[in-house]
Symmetry: C2
């Protein structure tokens, strides 16, 4: 795999979408796919798909299509989706419960291993198979449990202070469900779950 | 505004992200921005941003940057985010509660106006300011209340059957939180809330 210059972030952003599509195709029993078929399925041009993948080497033979399992394995490896990532969940409200019980984590390499809240009424109680921990113990537990990723599921007004604590604890990647943009130092990544973005994409066509 | 040929879907998909960034800039008190600044903020090249916006006309003068409020208003109008959309929420579990109470709907033009479930224990009870309705009454209520968009917050194994009911009831846009790809007829749009996609985008860099 040749990686001479950094791959644009927008390309990296499309790889998980390709990976998801390949997993669906495999589940449907297919073994070979063309960039044209992927394009149709994803609404991304086949030229774009070929160009994106070419950043990482040669995956398909001209006119032969892609071996789905092989390309899937390569993408998993590129995205480091072939290992298990330990995650902390911050916020044990309705959303925290939904995230902790989310069936979509299964087999994807992301594992919630601890849950935090700052509410004395919740600390020590169970959320599914987790005991809710005091957010004051975040730093030590993150170190102890080798947590690398955190999910923020707290109200908007609490999100920045939670994110500050996560950064202090050495977390490098944060998935934020709170409807607020948070500030982080360079080197810390934040992604947002923002339903409005998805809805606006559809209303254009309505 | 000239719209001679259809704008690629991938371009439409970026417009809500531009709109969100412009709203942040306005909130920060800025009035003018350059595609270069937007590019830096979003990790999308400035050439791409200019090309995307050029599909809809001329928004900035060469070297002068964009008038943020004007561009924001134009994007709102293009995305039909300048009106209010009535939404139905399907699923009154933890996730349904979190979605119904989500603070991020505020001022974005999306309004949940009814909540459905199929659980007799939940039907008739309140979820916040909503009375939970029987999913069996979906079609008539969707018609009555002029619902155009639905949010699916049910378990994976129930999602397809709920989506089928929504399509039957005439819903044209579905935001699916369930971790499963659903089948819909041509002309019905589905977007997915998929935290794994966001996480994989970050693990590449970890």
């Amino acid at each position: 795999m040749s990686e001479t210059k950094p791959v644009p972030d927008i390309v990296i952003g499309r790889l998980p979408i390709y990976l998801r599509a390949l997993n669906y195709l495999l589940a449907e029993g297919q073994t070979i796919t063309a960039s044209k078929d992927l394009a149709l399925r994803l609404g991304i041009s086949s030229a774009q798909i070929r160009k994106d993948l070419s950043h990482f080497g040669e995956f398909g033979k001209q006119g032969m299509g892609y071996d789905i399992a092989h390309l899937r394995d390569q993408l998993r490896s590129i995205l480091k989706a072939d290992r298990v990532w330990n995650m902390a969940l911050i916020g044990a409200g309705d959303l925290g419960h939904a995230i902790a019980h989310y069936a979509g984590w299964e087999g994807k390499g992301f594992r919630i291993i601890c849950v935090f809240d700052n509410n004395p009424q919740k600390i020590g109680r169970n959320l599914g198979r987790f005991q809710i921990c005091d957010i004051a113990t975040l730093a030590e537990r993150v170190r102890e449990l080798e947590v690398e990723i955190a999910i923020v599921a707290v109200p908007a007004q609490a999100a920045q202070s939670v994110v500050d604590k996560l950064v202090e604890a050495g977390i490098g990647a944060i998935l934020n469900y709170a409807p607020i943009t948070v500030k982080v130092p360079a080197g810390v990544q934040v992604q947002y779950i923002d339903p409005v973005i998805h809805l606006q994409r559809m209303t254009y066509y309505l």
